[in-house]
């Protein structure tokens, strides 16, 4: 017996919209069973995940604090994914962005210039782009697989970070702890409201999203990029360069990830330390696909994942859930979403082994 997925010619729009709802219901159902087995409070857990993040103002601002970098990186990655450029190293590009941006406050410890932040922003973007450019060069020059290259570059980026923190950039007053000085206020994004960590960097992903939407939907360049990925031969015939697609996809992702890294160290962290990414570089890949690589869809997906992560933290504290149970629930949600999405778009066909002269698809 064999299984085959056929793309549905007509799929139900209503079902497509119901997809996330079904996925959440299934995930809630399965994890309820797990929670009962773990003898954890079921209702309190789901309350923590879905209600608690919205219960107070501080918590809502925290959702947006996570939403920002997820949105920024996912939008850029989605452009590349549509052009079939598989950059899964946004994590490394983010780390390098954080590093290059940190150079400013690390070397200008006493500066109070208003130019600190813009300089960090530019350096962060350039750092991320530079790191992504390595993969783009190796891909276009030697046809090196960008999945491997970007992934391995992420490991290298992490080691560079450790080197700097343990060596030349270590806080001289920090008793050898692997972290830099705390940055001066002028090197940090101002908070949007008193007493919260959400800061003005949240506008960057929003503006970026509008830009991406205009580019992909309204601009010929976006079309060329997609064609270059889908049908390289056709694209070449039409005079579109697939090399250009590789370069622009990777540089765009490096740009976004670099700024995201910069926003973390110039935002909630306030210094360069060993963990600067919170895993955004990888989560953003999920966000891009959850959002069906569509700029609007990605907004919802980024928000959803942000809520899920904040909810997970709440569940840890309030519902006394072990951290692995939190990850299981988050994983279930994503798996059910992708499964539901697949079955709405594809029809499952079971192919029986040949008994007669021809196969008959089961209804």
């Amino acid at each position: 017996m064999q299984f085959k997925l056929d793309r549905r010619v007509h799929y139900s729009k209503r079902m497509l919209i119901a997809t996330p709802v079904i996925a959440i219901a299934l995930a809630v159902l399965v994890s309820s069973v797990l929670l009962v087995l773990l003898q954890k409070p079921v209702l309190l857990t789901f309350h923590s995940f879905f209600i608690a993040p919205f219960e107070n103002f501080y918590s809502i601002t925290e959702i947006f604090l996570k939403f920002g970098p997820l949105l920024l990186i996912a939008q850029a990655l989605a452009v590349g994914f549509r052009a079939k450029v598989w950059n899964i190293g946004a994590e490394g590009q983010m780390i390098i962005g954080a590093i290059t941006a940190s150079a400013v406050p690390v070397y200008l410890v006493d500066s109070t210039s208003a130019l600190l932040l813009p300089a960090m922003l530019i350096l962060g973007a350039l750092g991320g782009m530079g790191w992504a450019a390595i993969a783009a060069y190796l891909k276009t020059r030697f046809n090196a697989n960008e999945i491997l290259v970007t992934l391995m570059l992420s490991s290298i980026a992490l080691q560079i970070l450790y080197y700097l923190l343990l060596g030349p950039w270590k806080d001289p007053m920090g008793f050898n702890f692997p972290q830099t000085v705390m940055f001066q206020d002028e090197a940090l994004f101002p908070a949007l409201f008193e007493g919260v960590r959400l800061n003005t960097s949240i506008f960057i992903p929003i503006i970026f999203t509008i830009g991406i939407w205009l580019f992909m939907e309204k601009h010929f360049g976006g079309f060329k990029l997609v064609v270059g990925g889908l049908a390289p031969n056709a694209a070449t015939y039409a005079g579109f360069s697939s090399k250009k697609a590789v370069w622009s996809s990777l540089l765009l992702a490096g740009f976004a990830a670099g700024i995201a890294g910069m926003s973390e160290i110039a935002g909630p962290i306030g210094q360069l330390q060993r963990s600067v990414t919170s895993g955004y570089g990888y989560s953003a890949i999920i966000v891009a696909y959850l959002g069906a690589l569509n700029p609007i869809g990605i907004i919802f997906a980024a928000f959803f994942l942000a809520v899920l992560q904040i909810g997970g933290d709440v569940a840890l504290v309030s519902a006394d859930l072990p951290i692995s149970a939190v990850h299981v629930f988050q994983g279930l949600l994503l798996i059910f979403y992708l499964a539901t999405y697949t079955f709405v778009n594809y029809r499952l066909r079971i192919i029986r082994p040949l008994t007669h002269s021809n196969t008959k698809p089961t209804p």
Binding site: A25, L43, L166, F175, N176, F177, L316, S318, P322
Partner: protein, 358 residues
């Protein structure tokens, strides 16, 4: 759809049911640990500490433990949530929680924070560190008797003063018995990375070491390598004897119970004062135990005598003369290294081969 609406309704109801979990009469104590709580190790030692508080106060306190939290912005949010959920007394179990914890402490002047391994203080924020070097010195003496190659190996987490001074204490103890002994160190930059810790331990054995020291590793990784490789091995915080039944040299245990209980007492009495808490054998926080039977009675007597001298402050591990790796005298005979210099230690004593990561 029906399932969903029911679920949503249930979730909404749960919001009403479980909203308030804080009881005004009980002291809510929160513990945040950087690694999973296992049967042994750093996090377990912290849990034992708060359990002692629970044993003393019973229903008057409630312990909330959040385990395996990485440092970074997420940890800050979780700490924030712990405060929001009514924890009045917080134990932050890793140096990476320092800056976030300190910010929180400044905003919540009435709450008390204990912070592991850090160096910043506030009125309601005390960093706490164990004088591991005292116990490690005694372990060094035992190691000196048992080593044949005269090479000792250390798998170590971060090159922070706490761990550097522990390695130096170990080296000084060993060389007080046999000055030919040298020590190799591998820094793995993690509290919790069993695979890397084991690889490093094996590399040290391959390099000729026949005694291993698992410096602040939260898993029995190095200890099991010692048993398998036929090298005596010891570790910090909690006994891992069952992972090395024949080759376990001993343990430099930390018992946080006296300190945690005293801090909770002070918090409840309203006279808690944040200061750098630096606790050793005389405070009953650092305890050496589970000595290997292969150590001669003669050596055990020497070790016990040295222990008594350290506890009574008659001698200090960092009494001069102290010579650094470069062969330069740091403290002449008859003088004692200042506390501040130990708390900020960024150099190795003579006998440690490996350079410090700089």
């Amino acid at each position: 759809m029906n399932v969903l609406s029911k679920t949503l309704a249930a979730v909404a109801v749960s919001g009403l049911l479980f909203h308030s979990t804080v009881n005004a009469d009980t002291l809510e104590i929160g513990l945040l640990t950087p690694s999973p709580i296992a049967d042994v190790g750093w996090s377990k030692a912290l849990v034992d500490g708060v359990d002692a508080v629970k044993a003393k106060y019973g229903d008057k306190v409630n312990i909330n433990i959040i385990e395996n939290i990485q440092e970074g912005p997420d940890a800050d949010r979780i700490m924030n949530k712990m405060v929001g959920d009514g924890n009045e007394f917080l134990v932050l179990g890793s140096f990476g929680f320092m800056n976030g914890g300190l910010k929180l402490a400044k905003r919540n002047a009435k709450r008390t924070f204990l912070h592991a391994s850090g160096y910043k203080t506030a009125k309601n924020f005390s960093p706490f560190t164990a004088k591991y070097y005292e116990g490690a010195y005694l372990m060094g003496m035992a190691a000196a008797e048992l080593t044949k190659t005269k090479k000792l190996g250390v798998v170590s987490a971060f090159a922070i003063p706490e761990l550097i001074s522990t390695i130096n204490g170990f080296t000084l103890g060993a060389r007080s018995i046999d000055p030919e002994i040298t020590v190799d160190v591998i820094w793995i930059n993690s509290w919790f990375d069993p695979a890397k810790a084991q690889d490093s331990a094996k590399a040290l054995l391959a390099g000729g070491a026949d005694i291993l020291f698992s410096n602040a590793q939260d898993t029995p990784s190095v200890v099991t390598v010692g048993e398998e490789g036929g090298a005596y091995v010891f570790n910090l915080n909690g006994s891992m004897k069952e992972y090395a039944p024949t080759k376990y040299l001993g343990v430099v245990k930390t018992d946080w119970a006296p300190f945690f209980v005293a801090s909770v007492d002070a918090h409840l009495a309203g006279n808690f004062e944040g200061k750098n808490e630096w606790l050793g054998m005389q405070d009953d926080v650092v305890v050496v135990d589970d000595w290997n039977a292969d150590i001669s009675a003669e050596m055990m007597a020497k070790i016990e005598a040295k222990r008594a001298e350290i506890v009574s402050a008659a001698v200090h591990v960092y009494d001069g003369p102290l010579i650094n790796q470069e062969g330069k005298e740091v403290i002449p005979a008859g003088e004692r290294l200042e506390d501040g210099a130990i708390l900020g230690m960024d150099w190795h004593v003579e006998g440690v081969n490996s350079p410090l990561p700089k």
